[in-house]
Point group: C2
Chain length 503, copies 2
């Protein structure tokens, strides 16, 4: 009792917001339910999930207190709870369907968390076992995860200044961390239309390739499924061979949507709202496109000069550009099994995993803005080593960056890399303990790919492989790290400080 | 001509200081020369090195200009030149002796740079081929490297604030970066006696184990050889099995000298100068000892519960403590071939490589102070995420740390890890190109071990192995990175900025 009576967090506000989201979740769950009825498949998995979601949400609303304010602490708690509980509810259909690897609760939660966090790492073994409605639910939960992260990034993390997120270009920043609720609604309204619009465009483009006969495999089902997970830079596919299952023209068509999904939605909004220069002159945008160009060219060169690979010119450029874009934007699609490439190409792809697109987008990983600030600040450190008396602010798109923000960004980068390193070691050592030897590079790939929410890794967990090769205990830890990574680490870590609950 | 006439660096001052060091180098080179005469071995390798060193040094003195001031830029240039040229001169005896793997110029430079930077990675294959005087030169160059780094760390880097080095506890900080020359002489005088005193003590302790018959293999030669490289936390040994060639009592005796060599010499000086509390109450000292205790206990536990390892209790504790101390202090000795341990133990040892002892000591790697500041600052970030209005300085041993220093430390940590990562990739990819496949973990070990100046790695380059397994081009890059790593990165990187030469 003493513990609870001392709590200084307005947890009823967090629980209230979480309850609201859980109730809303019934809406999207109705989509695979309708699909199941249409295809004559079992609707029970989705009915069960809807019942749990609405009941739990209702109970949470009952516990909530409308007078409690959603401040920074309450927002952190709500964010952590929402991502955890929506993933749990999202796993219910897999368990209830009871088919294949994902019938196991840990696997189901892995698949659902991988979906919601737009990671795209899968434990599916045999795709053909699963019903269309279950496969579409995997896609839809990623699309929801993409929307969730857009709202989180633009309305919440930027206000709370997590890892320098306050640098994000935004007209609507309130600078008042005690007024998060109106901010969230306002941003959601703004972003929502744009996100739906881009998704509908993607469906139209993909499906037109299908109906025109250029690739008959691009059915309406596949067009919707891949529109969901390209705009959300998420990466699930109902096809075991990912985008490699489609014609080259489909692969070309997917690339721009991955790039748009990783572009700041605030700047995209300005772009269509008559201020295109705000996007086009943005330094982070340039840096992000430069990253894509740099790694694509390097990988293309390596493929071109690789005597063991005999791609034509278009093929070389396409596979280099597609897979680099997929990993830089953290989508995680593959146009081919890049695990068969040379070490040089694979390590380059591995480096791509640490880049990420722009802040304020659906992208995961470190993100271009943080690397750009770190690089500029480092260049200044070299300069001030020579001129200790010089005062020279770091500027992004002309605006000076606060020194505390630079420090926070460095600390975020370091923390990400340290967690990645520890997860790698855990994967190797836990694998050895469980009797399944995992090579160091494959472990590095899987660690980066789950924690940074990319999707595919190398070796057995490569783009055409499955995370089912890992022991259950490793998958359980990966679930936690996909969750922590997606909501940018800090909202979870603060929950483990005494100050969060008491001071 | 235009390039040179625009140069704004007082390079004649840097060249003058470098020349002075090269002339001084003749002194220590006389030691193996005398040893060669005593053992009836060829003295030519050392005569050649002395001639080159004195001539080059004399020419540099001739080029120098006593009126030019040694400011920050000139100091960076001098530091980079001194470490490069002393390593080059140090390689001459190996080439002139013309025996074994180190007769090849790149191997000779590798061995010499590995010596001078107190790395201790070796390309020797057959130790028995080499003369006593050549083997002792390997040891002595490490001892010189330890002395050099002590002076660099306490007198130069702390003044220039490289990677937060200004935090080092020091009474003598002048805060006047234009008065480096008197500062260097003053600190050298203070440190010199302490360094010699500890070395002599180590010789006495080791040799007493030899003459008392506890381990007849600990001859005077071996006592001197290992005193040189334990106090310098350097790691070369004339024995192919390193300290594993000696009795357990020798292994126990070496541990305290590695620990002392990694303790701040400024604080050691206070300790014997009647102010022991300045060392004993120092937070970095506590953190450093805590790191040793933490990793030793974990490794001991893993060894204890490893069913494939059948050590007795004393043996388990000794091997855990010895090898953890060896890697945390960056010495690089081994008491046993730890490459044969489980992945769990090996990855823990790998983590130890990134810690390091205290600033202002002979230790290499990141160093405890930087990790301590990063940890404390990170704890504060969690606190201020909840209380954005709070102002709470990070304190080390009670003193607040400057915010710019915290940022520099983060950037130094990040830079180190990024360079380590890129070097790992280079080792793998270049190995593949040259037709010698190197597993990712072995490459990670070798990258960390060379760049962070530890010595042994894992796999073929393990503690009882040799770096001769790497292609020449990989070894050439490792030479550069041992050099960059030892002088704390920044002094080399600034040389590649335009501002260094022109502004
Ligand atoms: K993804
Ligand atoms: K060493």
């Amino acid at each position: 009792m003493n513990f609870f009576s001392n709590i200084r967090v307005g947890w009823r506000a967090s629980v209230g917001l979480t309850g609201e989201v859980l109730i809303y979740l019934a809406g999207p769950l109705a989509f695979p339910l309708v699909l199941a009825l249409y295809y004559g498949e079992s609707a029970l998995p989705f009915v069960a999930a809807i019942v749990v979601s609405v009941s739990l949400g209702g109970y949470f609303r009952y516990l909530s207190d409308p007078d409690e304010n959603l401040g920074p602490r309450e927002a952190f708690l709500a964010v952590a709870m929402i991502w955890l509980l929506v993933a749990a509810v999202g796993a219910i259909p897999f368990v209830v369907a009871g088919v294949g690897t994902i019938a196991h609760p840990i696997n189901a939660l892995f698949e659902s968390m991988s979906g919601l966090t737009t990671t795209g790492a899968t434990v599916l073994q045999d795709f053909s076992l699963h019903s269309q409605s279950i496969l579409m639910w995997r896609q839809l939960i990623q699309w929801l995860g993409g929307l969730g992260i857009l709202i989180l990034a633009t309305a919440v993390l930027s206000e709370l200044g997590v890892g320098g997120a306050q640098l994000m270009e935004s007209e609507t920043q309130t600078k008042d961390v005690n007024k998060l609720t109106p901010k969230i609604s306002e941003t959601a309204r703004l972003i929502w239309g744009l996100y739906v619009g881009i998704t509908v465009t993607a469906i139209a483009v993909f499906y037109s390739i299908g109906v025109s006969g250029l690739d008959p495999n691009m059915t309406l089902f596949n067009a919707v499924a891949h529109a969901f997970t390209s705009v959300a830079t998420a990466g699930f596919s109902p096809e075991p061979e990912s985008i490699g299952a489609f014609a080259p023209i489909v692969q070309w068509a997917v690339i721009p949507f991955m790039i748009v999904g990783s572009t700041s939605f605030i700047l995209l909004y300005f772009f269509i709202d008559g201020q295109p220069e705000r996007l086009l002159k943005n330094q982070e945008f340039h840096f992000y496109l430069g990253t894509l160009a740099f790694f694509s060219s390097l990988v293309a060169l390596l493929l071109f000069f690789d005597t063991e690979i005999a791609y034509g010119t278009e093929e070389t450029i396409r596979h280099a550009l597609f897979n680099v874009t997929s990993l830089v934007t953290t989508t995680g699609y593959a146009s081919i099994d890049f695990d068969l490439w040379s070490n040089g190409a694979k390590y380059l792809l591995f480096l791509c995993m640490f880049t990420g697109g722009m802040v304020g987008s659906t992208t995961c990983s470190i993100k271009s803005l943080r690397w750009l600030v770190a690089l500029k600040s480092f260049r200044r450190i070299l300069f001030t080593s020579i001129h200790p008396e010089a005062i020279k602010p770091v500027r992004i798109s002309g605006k000076p960056v606060d020194e505390d923000t630079i420090r926070d960004i460095y600390s975020y980068l370091l923390l990400s890399i340290v967690i990645f390193g520890l997860l790698t070691i855990f994967i190797v050592v836990n694998g050895e303990r469980a009797g399944s030897e995992i090579p160091a590079f494959d472990a590095m790939g899987a660690a980066a790919s789950t924690f940074l929410n990319i999707g595919p890794a190398f070796g057995a967990a490569g783009p055409y492989g499955t995370y089912d090769v890992f022991p259950m205990s490793t998958k359980a830890v990966m679930i936690v790290l996909m969750w922590i990574g997606r909501i940018e680490i800090i909202p979870v870590l603060v929950l483990f400080t005494k100050a969060f609950w008491k001071s």
